[in-house]
């Protein structure tokens, strides 16, 4: 496997009960890049994202075919523990979902419970919050409830919470769709910063966002991967007519 590739999908099909949500997806995500998944609602992009850290396991009656290779192993092989996978592949959700705990405990929760090396939990909390560019805003209120933060701050807290696990990949499911433009800009800057150390795969409905922050873009339609290319290419001169129609707003 090419050392620049961190996760690899090979002929992946996904079913909700009888209905197929993803058809024969084969694609490689590259290390330390931001990859954006775009496409109209219901095209399967969020489903694909949630496949990568086995979050779809939580839904009864789903089925996966094909393989997803991460660290030379198929993460859907029977002996693989999804909990282990999720430690290495973190996730940030559409709506900020901090726990009803203090800011400090939101960050410390994962490392404490997963027997990570937590000699210096305080330092880990500080480091994670700094990485998420939230430290200066919350350093004096670490023992206050995270529910009192603004939406944008809560989302950055959720990013810090995911980073505290020191994942290899960070999955983001429309992380700014519930936020105002200023908070969105902050998170986009943050993503720019984070890609130095992490691989980021982001689902977005906002095409300008995909164009601004991603290195590579995949366009999905009705469960099929239509085109997967460098972002520049997708937004200036896509190979597939369908992609161009979507990006220029002719449908979707």
């Amino acid at each position: 496997m090419d050392s620049n590739i961190i996760i690899k999908l090979n002929k992946v099909n996904f079913y909700y009960g009888q209905s197929r949500a993803l058809t024969d997806i084969t694609m490689n995500f590259r290390k330390n890049k931001v990859s954006a998944l775009i496409g109209p609602s219901g095209c399967g992009k969020s489903t694909l994202l949630r496949l990568l850290n086995r979050m779809n396991d939580l839904i009864d009656g789903t089925r996966v075919e094909g393989e997803i290779i991460f660290e030379d192993k198929n993460i859907y092989a029977p002996h693989i523990d999804p909990v282990e996978i999720r430690r290495k592949i973190g996730m940030v959700f559409q709506k900020p979902n901090p726990f009803p705990k203090t800011i400090y405990n939101n960050i410390a929760y994962g490392p404490k419970l997963t027997s990570m090396n937590t000699d210096d939990l305080d330092a880990l909390v500080e480091q994670s919050l700094k990485q998420a560019v939230l430290w200066d805003e919350v350093k004096d209120i670490l023992n206050k409830s995270a529910m009192n933060l603004s939406g944008g701050q809560q989302q950055r807290l959720c990013i810090a919470r995911a980073l505290a696990m020191k994942p290899d990949i960070l999955l983001m499911d429309e992380p700014t769709s519930a936020l105002d433009p200023i908070s969105t800009a902050k998170i986009e800057e943050l993503i720019e910063e984070l890609k130095k150390n992490y691989t980021i795969i982001i689902v977005t409905h906002n095409m300008q966002q995909a164009a601004r922050i991603s290195d590579e873009t995949a366009f999905f339609y009705l469960g099929n991967l239509v085109e997967y290319n460098k972002t520049e290419k997708i937004f200036t001169n896509p190979d597939v007519k369908h992609t161009e129609d979507y990006i220029t707003g002719r449908f979707g």
């Binding site: 850290n53 979050m55 939580l58 009864d60 909990v83 282990e84 996978i85 999720r86 430690r87 290495k88 973190g90 996730m91 959700f93 709506k95 979902n97 901090p98 726990f99 009803p100 705990k101 929760y109 994962g110 419970l113 997963t114 409830s145 529910m147 959720c158 919470r161 995911a162 696990m165």
Partner: protein, 297 residues
């Protein structure tokens, strides 16, 4: 001309609507009033008739003179023991069942059947629980008529209430909390115990209060399994029989040595029972409000 007609038509229809609204609100208010009056009436009647019997001796001394005089202390203690026992058995078992049903079990026909079964259990007459307790705990398991048998019987009696309350409370915990925790690589049972359960506990307690009140007030389940007709001895272990307030009232009112003469004591005992149930509820409410302080979402 037409304008004026329109106006008067409109006015009429507004009046009619206003009338309908007051009629409806009136009916609703009246229903609420009836309930409050009924509750207030019962409480008032009990207090007026019972307050005379209440004294320090009444609540701290055992009965004397074939239960026509003296106090009801053994019955108060017995009811408190039995209620605590019922909670100690019903609450953990009920919460555990609800966690299994909502968090772990694969939703399907079997689970639906189990849930129907639990709801049926809630409707089973309490005397049936009493007979079950007699047959199973008292005779088969040889626990005898004791606090243990009575607590187990009452625990099972309130189990459906607690399971129902716990299920609702667990379902009310946002799915996003579970997802957030699992996405961090935290295991399912840790997620359940660290995130889901703490956030569901206030709701579980709210529902359980109903069950607790029922456990304290039931007569039929304990008359075969725990309650003594008369004893001045206080229980030394969970294998001892106890007096209990509901059963004591039943005995005084139907089978006592002198039913008419003990009327004041009967009312006094009823008043104490109501007070004991309300105090247990109050404790649960205080615990709940304490737990709710930091749980806002």
């Amino acid at each position: 001309m037409e304008d004026i007609m329109m106006k008067s038509f409109k006015n009429n229809s507004m009046k009619w609507r206003y009338f309908k609204q007051s009629l409806f609100f009136g009916t609703v208010r009246f229903s609420a009033l009836i309930i409050v009056l009924a509750l207030g009436g019962i409480l008032f009647y009990i207090i007026v008739n019972g307050i005379g019997a209440i004294s320090w001796d009444f609540i701290t001394k055992p009965p004397t003179d074939s239960m026509t005089k003296g106090g009801i202390m053994p019955a108060i203690l017995g009811t408190i023991y039995l209620t605590i026992g019922a909670i100690a058995i019903g609450l953990p078992l009920g919460i555990a069942s609800a966690i299994y049903l909502t968090e772990y079990a694969k939703q399907g026909r079997v689970i639906r059947l189990i849930k129907v079964g639990i709801n049926c259990l809630a409707g089973v007459p309490s005397v049936v629980f009493g007979l079950f307790g007699l047959g199973f705990f008292v005779i088969f398991l040889k626990f005898g008529s004791s606090i243990l048998s009575g607590s187990l019987t009452l625990g099972f009696l309130i189990l459906p209430t607690i399971i129902g309350a716990a299920e609702e409370a667990l379902k009310a915990v946002p799915q996003t909390f579970r997802e957030a925790s699992l996405s961090l690589g935290v295991s399912k049972w840790q997620t359940t115990f660290r995130i889901v359960l703490p956030n569901a506990l206030p709701g579980i307690l709210t529902g359980s209060i109903l069950g607790i009140g029922r456990a304290a007030g039931e007569t039929a389940p304990i008359m075969f399994t725990a309650a003594a007709y008369f004893t001045t001895k206080l229980p030394g272990s969970i294998f001892d029989e106890v007096m209990a307030l509901p059963y004591h009232i039943y005995v005084l009112a139907t089978a006592g040595t002198n039913i008419e003469a003990t009327r004041p004591i009967q009312f006094g005992t009823v008043l104490v029972l109501v007070a004991v149930v309300l105090s247990i509820d109050l404790i649960a409410i205080i615990i709940r409000s304490y737990m709710r302080k930091n749980k806002r979402w």
